[in-house]
C-alpha cells in the first residue's frame, strides 16, 4: 500500500519535478524538470527508482514532512541541513522515516535546489507523459502549482524497508571549478577578444535567479552585431547576452524559443552545479569543445548510474551527543527532559568510547592493517583515534548549530559545508585538528538552562534568512503574471 507524505511546512518555489516534459518543444511546451538532474537521479537511484521519477524539489525555504507509514526517503542536492526530529543527517542520504517522525530540511551552507525522492516516485497524474511542474503554464505536478504546507503526496509504490545510508557521491560535492560551456550558436555575434574576456571573467549570480533563468552580473560582454536575432530554438543552459551585455542562463523552465544572441551553452555535465549557485555566489565559464562536453556528460551519467556503490551505512547520532562532544555546554533541554552536566558527561564519555572503537578500526584500515592486526596496534592509535572521533563530531556541525553565550567560538569556515566530506574522510578531517577539543563546562554559559536543541537554532537562524531569498525568487517568477483561471480553462 502506498504511503502518504504530508508536507507540514514548505518554502516558496518548491515543486514536483521529474526528468522533464520532452517531445513537445515544437508546440511551445517548456520541458521543466529538476533544476539539478544529478540530484534527481542520485536520490531516485538510491531508492531503486528510475532515475527520472517524480520527486519533491525544495528550495532554501526548506521542508518539514511526515509519513503515515514507515517509508524510505532519499534526498540529495546542495549542502542543505537535514534532520530527523533532533538528529542531524548528512546532506545526501537515504533514511527510513517512521510515522510520527519529521524529516526536516533547512537551507544549510550552500545549494539552491534539493531533491527528496519517495518509493516509486510521487503519484500525480502524468500530463503529456511527464509529472514535472511548470507553474507558468499551469502544467504537471500538483495542479500545476508550487507545493504548499498541508499538501499530501502519495508514493507511487508501497514502501519497503531499507537501511539508512549516506550518499557519498563525489558529483554532489561542492566545487569551485569553472562551469564548462560549448560556444555557439551565435558566438559569431561576438569578437574573439570579447569571447576571450568572457572566458576569463568572474560572474556573480544576481537575485534575478529562478527556475526559468539565472541572470549574472560581471564585465559587459558587448555584441559585435545586433543583439536581437530572429527567434530560434533554445536549449537548456543557453547563455543569452541581452542588450545590457550581461549573461542570462536559461534553465529548466525556459521558453522553448528566444530572440537574443546566445554566446554559448552550459554543458549538461555542469548545469546542476550552476543550478546550485545562490545569488551573490560567483562562477566562471570555461569554453570546451563539443566532444569534451559529451565525454564529460557520459562519464557523469555512468558515475551516477553507479550510485548504489556510493552508499555507506549511516548511524544516526542524537543531537545531545553531538552537542556534548563539543564540550561547550553543560546541559540541554528538549522540552520534555533535562539532562544535568554530570549525566551528559557520562553520556559523552560513553559515546566517545564507542566512537574511538570505530575510529581505531578505521585507523587500522588506514594503515593497511588487517582485521587481526589492528588489535595489536590499537594502544598506539587509540589516543589519536579517541581525539579524532570527538573532533569528527565537531566537524559535522556548522555554525548555525551551536547556541552558546559568553564565549567566542572559532568555527572552521567550511566545517559544516560539506557533510559528505566529513562522512567520507572522518579520520583525515578529525585528526587534523585533533588537539583542538577543549573541555569547557557549564560556567562558560550565562544561561545554560535555555540552551535549545541544535536544530531549533538552525531553524531560527537559517530558515528566516533564506525564506527571504525564497520570496525574492518568487517575486522574480512573478514578473510574468500567471493566470490560474486561464490555465484551468486550458486544461479543460
Amino acid at each position: 500500500m502506498a504511503a502518504r507524505v504530508t508536507l507540514e511546512t514548505i518554502g516558496p518555489g518548491a515543486t514536483i519535478q521529474d526528468g522533464g516534459r520532452h517531445g513537445l518543444l515544437c508546440f511551445g511546451v517548456t520541458p521543466a524538470g529538476a533544476m539539478d538532474w544529478t540530484a534527481l537521479a542520485t536520490a531516485n537511484l538510491a531508492l531503486g527508482n528510475p532515475a527520472e521519477a517524480a520527486a519533491i524539489e525544495i528550495t532554501p525555504g526548506g521542508v518539514t514532512l511526515g509519513v503515515d507509514r514507515a517509508t524510505p526517503l532519499a534526498y540529495a542536492g546542495g549542502g542543505f541541513a537535514w534532520a530527523i526530529d533532533g538528529t542531524r543527517l548528512p546532506c545526501a542520504a537515504r533514511i527510513m522515516l517512521a510515522p510520527g517522525q519529521r524529516l526536516r530540511a533547512r537551507a544549510g551552507a550552500w545549494g539552491s535546489f534539493a531533491i527528496c525522492a519517495v518509493p516509486g516516485g510521487i503519484a500525480v497524474p502524468e500530463i503529456m507523459r511527464s509529472r514535472a511542474t511548470h507553474t507558468r503554464s499551469g502544467l504537471g505536478g500538483l495542479k500545476g502549482r508550487t507545493l504548499r504546507a498541508g499538501d499530501v503526496l502519495i508514493t507511487g509504490a508501497a514502501p519497503g524497508v531499507m537501511d539508512d545510508v549516506a550518499i557519498e557521491a563525489a558529483w554532489l560535492a561542492r566545487s569551485e571549478a569553472p562551469i564548462r560551456v560549448v560556444l555557439g550558436p551565435q558566438d559569431d555575434h561576438f569578437t574573439a577578444d570579447t569571447i576571450a574576456a568572457f572566458a576569463e571573467a568572474t560572474f556573480t549570480l544576481t537575485q534575478a535567479a529562478d527556475r526559468m533563468a539565472y541572470k549574472f552580473d560581471g564585465p559587459a560582454v558587448p555584441h559585435a552585431k545586433d543583439f536581437n536575432i530572429v527567434s530560434d530554438g533554445v536549449a537548456l543552459g543557453a547563455i543569452q547576452i541581452a542588450g545590457d551585455g550581461q549573461p542570462l542562463v536559461l534553465m529548466a523552465d525556459r521558453q522553448p524559443t528566444g530572440g537574443y544572441a546566445k554566446i554559448a551553452h552550459v554543458c549538461r555535465a555542469d548545469i546542476g552545479r550552476l543550478a546550485q549557485l545562490r545569488p551573490g555566489e560567483t562562477c566562471r565559464f570555461q569554453p570546451v569543445d563539443v566532444a569534451s562536453a559529451r565525454t564529460a556528460l557520459l562519464a557523469l551519467e555512468d558515475a551516477i548510474a553507479g550510485t548504489a556503490t556510493w552508499l555507506t551505512p549511516l548511524r544516526r547520532i542524537p543531537d545531545a551527543a553531538q552537542l556534548l562532544a563539543t564540550n561547550l555546554i553543560g546541559g540541554v533541554t528538549d522540552g520534555s527532559r533535562r539532562l544535568g552536566a554530570d549525566a551528559l558527561c557520562r553520556e559523552r564519555l560513553a559515546h566517545q568510547r564507542r566512537e574511538a572503537d570505530g575510529a581505531a578500526a578505521a585507523q587500522g584500515r588506514h594503515h593497511d592493517l588487517g582485521a587481526h592486526e589492528h588489535g595489536g596496534v590499537a594502544p598506539d592509535l587509540l589516543p589519536h583515534a579517541h581525539r579524532g572521533a570527538a573532533q569528527l563530531l565537531d566537524h559535522r556541525r556548522d555554525r548555525q548549530q551551536v547556541v552558546h553565550a559568553g564565549r567566542a567560538q572559532e568555527v572552521e569556515r567550511h566545517a559544516g559545508d560539506n557533510e559528505n566530506e566529513a562522512f567520507s574522510f572522518p579520520m583525515e578531517r578529525g585528526l587534523r585538528d585533533a588537539e583542538g577539543a577543549q573541555t569547557i563546562g557549564a560556567p562558560a554559559f550565562q544561561k545554560p538552562e535555555i540552551v535549545g536543541m541544535v536544530d531549533e537554532a538552525a531553524e531560527v537562524g537559517v530558515f528566516v534568512i533564506n525564506a527571504e531569498l525564497g520570496l525574492m525568487r518568487h517575486a522574480a517568477l512573478g514578473s510574468v503574471p500567471f493566470n490560474q483561471e486561464a490555465s484551468d480553462r486550458a486544461r479543460r
Binding site: H22, C26, T30, R136, G184, D232, L236, T257, V290, R294
Partner: protein
C-alpha cells in the same frame, strides 16, 4: 541545402538556413524536418522548427554532434526532401466587443477603418511558422502588408486565451493570458492546446490557417460548449 551547423551544447544542434524571417528559409526548415522524420535518425529526440532554423535535440549517448551532421548531410535534397503539404484549419474568430480590444486603437494607428482591419485579417490565409513562448502559442506568417505595425513600446495588460494579436508583420494566436506588446484585434474560441484532448496540439507547423468571423453570441456558445472547434477544410 545551404545551411550552417551550429552546436547548442553537446545535446542539441541548430541547422540555420538564414538570419532573416524569409519564407524561403522556412520552407527549407520544414523540408529538413520532414526528411528527418522520414529518416528517423537513431538518437534524435525532437526537433524545433522556427522561422529560419531547425533545432535538433538528441541523446548524446547515442549520437555525437559530428555523427548527426554527417547523417543530415546524407538526407535526400531538393524535391525529394520537400515537406508534404500541411492541413488547413478554419478557425472561428470574433472581432466584435468585447473581444476586439485594441481594434479601434489599431485602426487609428494604421489609418484604416476598423471594418477594413477586420476584413484584411479575416481574409488572409496564414501559414503556421512555429510555436513558441508557451504551449499552444501559434506564430503565423501571411499577415497582409496593410496590417504591418511594430510592437507597442510598453506591454498592454494580459489578453485572453485565444486572443488574435498582430505586431512586427506577424499574427499570433495566444493560448494563455499574458501581458503582451502586440495588438489584440479579436479572439477565437478554438483551443490550440488542450492537454486532455488527443492530440493536445492538432495544428502542426507548416499547416495553414484562416479565420471565419462569428458574432459575440456565437463566440460565447462555442466557447461554453467546448466542442472540437478546430474545423478542418
Amino acid at each position: 541545402m545551404a545551411c550552417r551547423y551550429l552546436p547548442a551544447g553537446e545535446s542539441a544542434l541548430v541547422v540555420e538556413f538564414g538570419a532573416t524571417a524569409d519564407p524561403a528559409f522556412h520552407a527549407q526548415v520544414l523540408a529538413l524536418d520532414a526528411a528527418m522524420r522520414a529518416a528517423a535518425i537513431n538518437g534524435v529526440r525532437e526537433t524545433v522548427p522556427t522561422y529560419r532554423s531547425l533545432m535538433i535535440h538528441f541523446d548524446p549517448r547515442r549520437l555525437g554532434t559530428a555523427d548527426l551532421v554527417a547523417a543530415l548531410e546524407r538526407l535526400p535534397r531538393g524535391e525529394a526532401g520537400r515537406a508534404p503539404a500541411g492541413r488547413h484549419w478554419r478557425l472561428p474568430a470574433c472581432y466584435a466587443p468585447p473581444h476586439g480590444e485594441d481594434l479601434e486603437e489599431l485602426a487609428g494607428l494604421l489609418d484604416l477603418p476598423p471594418e477594413r482591419v477586420v476584413a484584411l485579417h479575416a481574409s488572409a490565409r496564414y501559414t503556421v511558422v512555429m510555436y513558441g513562448f508557451a504551449p499552444g502559442f501559434v506564430f503565423l506568417s501571411g499577415l497582409p502588408h496593410e496590417l504591418a505595425i511594430s510592437r507597442r513600446q510598453t506591454p498592454r495588460p494580459p489578453a485572453q486565451p485565444g486572443a488574435l494579436t498582430i505586431a512586427n508583420g506577424q499574427a499570433l494566436i495566444a493560448s494563455i493570458a499574458m501581458p503582451t506588446g502586440w495588438y489584440v484585434l479579436g479572439r477565437t474560441p478554438a483551443r490550440t492546446f488542450d492537454p486532455g484532448r488527443d492530440p493536445a496540439f492538432p495544428i502542426a507547423v507548416g499547416d495553414s490557417v484562416s479565420f471565419e468571423q462569428v458574432d459575440a453570441a456565437t463566440f460565447d456558445t462555442l466557447h461554453a460548449e467546448n466542442r472540437p472547434l478546430l474545423a478542418q477544410a
